[in-house]
């Protein structure tokens, strides 16, 4: 309940944050909402020697349109995403998923940047960003770079962020009217992490499935796409129950679901099939 001692610095600008991080040594960590990091620190499972607080950088808080994309500042809280009129209209999947994270208090503090940068395969937003083919904007000492969400998650709690880089923005596409989407989260308690979560985007024209994108939460060491299901769905002309079921039966193909006190890997695989079937059904427009 008491973290180990650390140095604490408040960043006054993005440049300042980058330089503080670089000067803080190997064990320096960024602090935004703190809802991934502080729980670990309280149990002394994380013992950073320095924290760089970027919570005051209001420029990272905005959700705005940028061409065909929606640009979401990394400090946008889950609560902000859940209630953003722009997201609810242009990318309802993300707003819908954000509203299922943790509980209201967590959503008042936790940020999209923190959640993504933490790299927890059980978190909800990473799988959603995969399904949305999101792009992440990263700031380091050498300026900005962009990376696809698909290339960002490397291993459990390990991402493509270099030690002194900062995730500053998430860009998701505006979903066309021909796209349906949903996030289904299966857990034992509402406040818990997902045992399995499914983010589904299905695009149709004249009944034909043009494209399906399905991200899976907690089905492997990183968030993953249900590629076999996607392939099997795309191009289907007449969408019926048997076609959906057949595609969903391949939901866990290639996945390496974890085993913990909540569920076995075998059960997770079975659950993924059921949830993918239901999510696809719900995402048909």
């Amino acid at each position: 309940m008491i973290p180990t001692p650390f140095d604490y610095e408040v960043a006054t600008s993005l440049e300042h944050a980058v330089s503080l991080l670089a000067g803080g040594g190997e064990e320096a960590k960024l602090l935004a909402g703190g809802h991934s990091l502080l729980p670990l620190m309280k149990l002394r499972l994380a013992r950073p020697t320095a924290l760089v607080d970027i919570g005051g950088l209001d420029e990272l808080r905005e959700v705005r349109e940028q061409g065909e994309a929606i640009a979401i500042g990394a400090l946008s809280r889950h609560h902000d995403l859940e209630r953003s009129e722009l997201l609810r209209e242009a990318c309802p999947l993300l707003a819908h998923a954000a509203g299922q994270i943790g509980d209201p208090q967590v959503r008042h503090r936790g940020t999209i940047g923190g959640s993504i940068a933490h790299g927890d395969p059980a978190s909800d937003l990473p799988a959603v960003l995969l399904a949305l083919d999101a792009e992440l904007v990263i700031r380091g000492g050498d300026g900005e770079r962009r990376i696809a969400a698909a290339d960002f998650f490397l291993r459990p709690f390990e991402t493509a962020l270099e030690p002194h880089e900062i995730l500053i923005e998430v860009r998701v596409p505006r979903l066309r009217e021909t796209c349906g989407s949903t996030y289904l989260k299966f857990g034992r308690r509402a406040q818990d992490w997902a045992i399995v979560g499914v983010a589904a985007v299905v695009e149709r024209t004249d009944g034909r499935i043009e494209r399906a994108a399905i991200g899976l939460t907690n089905m492997g060491p990183t968030p993953v796409r249900a590629a076999a299901t996607e392939a099997s769905l795309s191009g289907i002309e007449t969408v019926d129950e048997s076609a959906i079921s057949a595609a969903a039966s391949r939901a866990a193909d290639g996945a390496e679901p974890p085993f913990d006190t909540y569920a076995t890997a075998e059960y997770r695989a079975a659950l993924a099939e059921v949830l993918v079937r239901r999510a696809v059904r719900a995402a048909l427009v």
Binding site: R44, F186, R188, T261, Y267, A270, V274, L275
Partner: protein, 788 residues
């Protein structure tokens, strides 16, 4: 005492609430005397190990640290080991349990050293610096593994892990089973549960070094028991130890105990001459506070072909954990007499073996023994019904003991008052049973992925511990009485001193209602004092749904004594004989001359001035009653749970929960309903959510509220409650306990519903907790034809 009831049974809002609603309550963590040292306990990460060396030198060097000790350093502090008050058999194995281990640790969480510092952070930081050298041994956590040949021994000196075997028999069990048409055999496993009172444990001890006196504030349900037993462990004269339970944030049995940290704070305050404070972090509480349940049951019912139960045969294996806490061995015995529940029969036997394992000790958790017993009989009777072709309603009706007073049971008890069919019928009506059955049939017919199940639990439990002589026959180390003092102050205000020690049950309100009605005074004129051995020296505390039916009855009787004395004084003041007076609504009036009267408050003033008292009467107006109940009380009821099971995911939702309970006369309906709500929630939690899991190394994997799943509002339904009133014959108030009934009733209702939902798919049993995965697996196995 013919006073009209004005408060009892009515809607009186709780007097406890205002300070709790405004942040003015005093929980132990908020008490910090000047100069307090913070205690941090270094705990073993190993389930079993020899402790080779504990080096506190580095911790002593850390900033803010005042002292640090290992088990050997503290060995001289103890006049006796930590208390165990229920040696259920003469030959029970009872290991010494020291507040800090001296040479070996027996579970992950066993203390090996202590650090004291001037602030919380320093104590925590320094605890990290204590170096402990362990020689790790093989460990065992599961009951049957511990009994296997060659199992690692929890306590080598005993030569086995068997703690005791205790047996009970009534009637000719062998002949009954031999002659039965039908014998049902079931095995049920109760997971280990973590009580999780919302307030983690905490202790503060303030010494008066020059006088050798100590005041201890503790998050305890049992200040009186703690005072006696800690005086013995510490070698402090009992008269020099004051124990205070201030506002206590729930207990559920977990604070019905005497803990190492209480002894440590006392010993260290004595040794250092300064106040010492310990506050558990929640994940520390998961290791260092008792667990509950963890039991394997084999139950057999002998019955006629028509479904009438003739006999019960039960075999229990109970996990004690690594040590015996205050009443660890006795917990199964609290259920041992009621494996027959509400039902009849001619023969009954039970045998229970307690088993040591390298785990946190078990002890009382809400219901203690009776949820287990009720689960077994309420599950098994469903099986019997299916065996002989009776539905759950009919098989229960056929076996209920008759409605009446003082009804003998197959387990050898005499139930105070019964009307089991009455609550069952009321519950069926409330549910609209036929309609739900029709919906169930329709869903089965259509092959819906959401199947409906209806589960029954017509429970009966024993509570109100207890006649002291019965406790003696069970080898329990204390009495079962309780005490109350009623004191009228000169101004006419009333102080009630109770030996019960509430921690959420609302005694202040209920006791005020009883007193105000008995004495005919306004309820706001009554204050209730409790939970402080200096203020309320006589008491046996709060557990086992005993407060009202023992402590409340003591209060009722003490009120009678006060009125008797007040009547003599009133008669003296009115110059008539006491028998010429009648007492109503606080007034003693001359029979037939209502204008000639004295209010009870006037007699209190007269008793205080003592200017004119009857010949030989002592000044003052107060009375104490120490009440030892002649029997337990036996609340009962029927709970019906309707579940919807998602057959694809195994998820269980509770669609309806109907509960009709009977606890005799009700003092405060809102409080009684609240107890039932909370009880049901804990029963549902056990049935669907909660389970303490150890890994192969004896590490508790579900060691926080993050992975031990205490449900929230989002996971639970609203409850539909009703009651019948069948007054107890045990006490003249006609009251029974209600604190545990909900928990006792709920789990079998839920699991019976889950099994009922899936019966047509071939599922015959689902273990607790019925997690989505367990349910899903049961369905998968049934589809493969593999279920039982």
């Amino acid at each position: 005492m013919a006073t009209a009831e004005r408060y009892v049974g009515g809607g009186v809002l709780r007097k406890e609430d205002p300070k709790l609603l405004t942040g003015e309550a005093t929980f132990v963590e908020s008490i910090t005397p000047p100069g307090t040292l913070y205690l941090s306990v270094v705990r073993s990460p190993h389930a079993s190990a020899r402790v080779r060396n504990v080096d506190v030198a580095a911790a002593l060097e850390a900033p803010g640290v005042v002292a640090a000790f290992n088990g050997q350093d503290l060995a001289e502090e103890w006049a006796a080991a930590l208390p165990m008050a229920w040696p259920v058999t003469e030959d029970i194995k009872h290991p010494d349990h020291w507040p800090v281990a001296k040479d070996s640790v027996c579970f992950a969480g066993d203390g090996v050293a202590v650090v004291l510092a001037t602030n919380r952070n320093a104590a925590k930081d320094a605890a990290d610096l204590v170096e402990v050298e362990y020689e790790v041994r093989e460990s065992v956590t599961a009951i049957e593994d511990a009994l296997a040949d060659g199992a690692p021994l929890v306590h080598e000196a005993f030569g086995s892990n068997e703690c005791y075997t205790w047996a009970l028999a009534n009637g000719d069990v062998e002949a009954t089973f031999a002659g039965a048409d039908v014998v049902v055999r079931e095995r049920y496993v109760h997971p280990r549960l973590v009580p999780n009172a919302m307030e983690p444990r905490a202790v503060v001890v303030q010494p008066v070094a020059s006088a050798g006196e100590f005041t201890m504030w503790s998050t305890t349900q049992v200040p009186h028991v703690a005072r006696v037993t800690l005086a013995l462990t510490l070698g402090i004269p009992e008269s020099k130890l004051r124990v205070i339970a201030p506002d206590v944030g729930g207990g559920f049995g977990s604070k019905l105990n005497v803990y190492a940290e209480e002894a440590l704070c006392l010993a260290l305050a004595r040794r250092l001459g300064r106040p010492v404070k310990w506050v558990a972090e929640r994940s520390e509480d998961y290791l260092a506070t008792i667990h509950g349940r963890d039991l394997i049951q084999d139950i057999e019912l002998a019955a006629t072909a028509g479904g009438t139960i003739l006999g019960y045969r039960v075999r229990l294996l109970a996990n004690m954990g690594a040590y015996l806490q205050l009443v660890t061995p006795g917990i199964p015995l609290l259920g041992a007499f009621v494996y027959c529940g509400s039902y009849g029969g001619q023969a009954y036997s039970l045998e229970c073996t307690g088993v040591f394992t390298n785990t946190t000790p078990t002890d009382a958790y809400r219901g203690a023994g009776r949820p287990e017993a009720t689960y077994a009989i309420e599950r098994a009777i469903d099986t019997l019904g299916r065996e002989v072709g009776l539905d759950p309603v009919e098989v229960r009706r056929r076996n209920f003991l008759p409605a009446g007073d003082n009804v003998p049971s197959p387990g050898g008890l005499v139930y105070d008052s019964t009307d089991y069919a009455g609550t069952l019928q009321r519950a069926l009506d409330l549910l609209d049973h036929d309609e739900v059955r029709a919906e169930q049939a329709a869903r089965r017919e259509s092959g819906d992925t959401r199947q409906i199940g209806i589960g029954f639990s017509s429970y009966m439990e024993m509570c109100g511990l207890a006649p002291s002589q019965v406790l003696a026959s069970l080898n329990y180390g204390a009495g079962g009485w309780d005490a109350a003092t009623v004191r009228l102050l000169p101004t006419g205000k009333v102080e009630v001193v109770t030996g019960s020690s509430p921690h959420g049950q609302g005694h202040v309100t209920s006791w005020s209602q009883i007193t105000a009605d008995a004495l005919g005074v306004p309820i706001d004129d009554v204050s209730v004092l409790h939970g402080d051995t200096a203020v309320a020296p006589l008491g046996m505390d709060t557990y086992g749904s005993r407060s009202l039916s023992v402590g409340g009855v003591a209060l009722h009787l003490a009120c009678g004594r006060v009125i008797d004395k007040a009547q003599k004084i009133a008669a003296h003041l009115l110059e008539v004989a006491p028998d010429d007076l009648e007492f109503e609504s606080g007034a003693f009036s001359v029979k037939g001359v209502p204008d000639r009267s004295k209010m009870i408050q006037e007699t209190a003033f007269a008793a205080w001035t003592a200017h004119s008292l009857p010949e030989g009467e002592e000044p003052g107006l107060e009375a104490t009653y120490v009440y030892d109940p002649p029997n337990f009380t036996f609340p009962f009821g029927t709970h019906i749970c309707v579940v919807e099971v998602d057959t694809e995911t195994g998820a269980v939702d509770i669609a309806r929960y109907v509960a009709v309970d009977d606890c005799g006369h009700v003092i405060n309906p809102q409080i009684v309903d609240g107890q039932i709500h909370g009880g049901i929630a804990q029963g549902i939690a056990a049935a669907l959510f909660e389970e303490a899991i150890y890994d192969d190394t004896g590490t508790l994997q579900t060691s926080s509220m993050m992975n031990y799943l205490v449900p929230s509002a989002a996971e639970l339904p609203s409850f539909e409650l009703d009651r019948t009133v069948t007054p107890s014959t045990t006490n003249e108030m006609g009251v029974k306990g209600i604190g545990e009934a909900g928990t006792i009733a709920a789990a079998p209702a839920v699991i019976n519903a889950v099994v009922d939902a899936l019966w047509h798919l071939g599922v015959r049993d689902v273990g607790m907790p019925a997690t989505p995965e367990r349910v899903w697996r049961a369905i998968q196995e049934a589809e493969r034809g593999g279920s039982r």
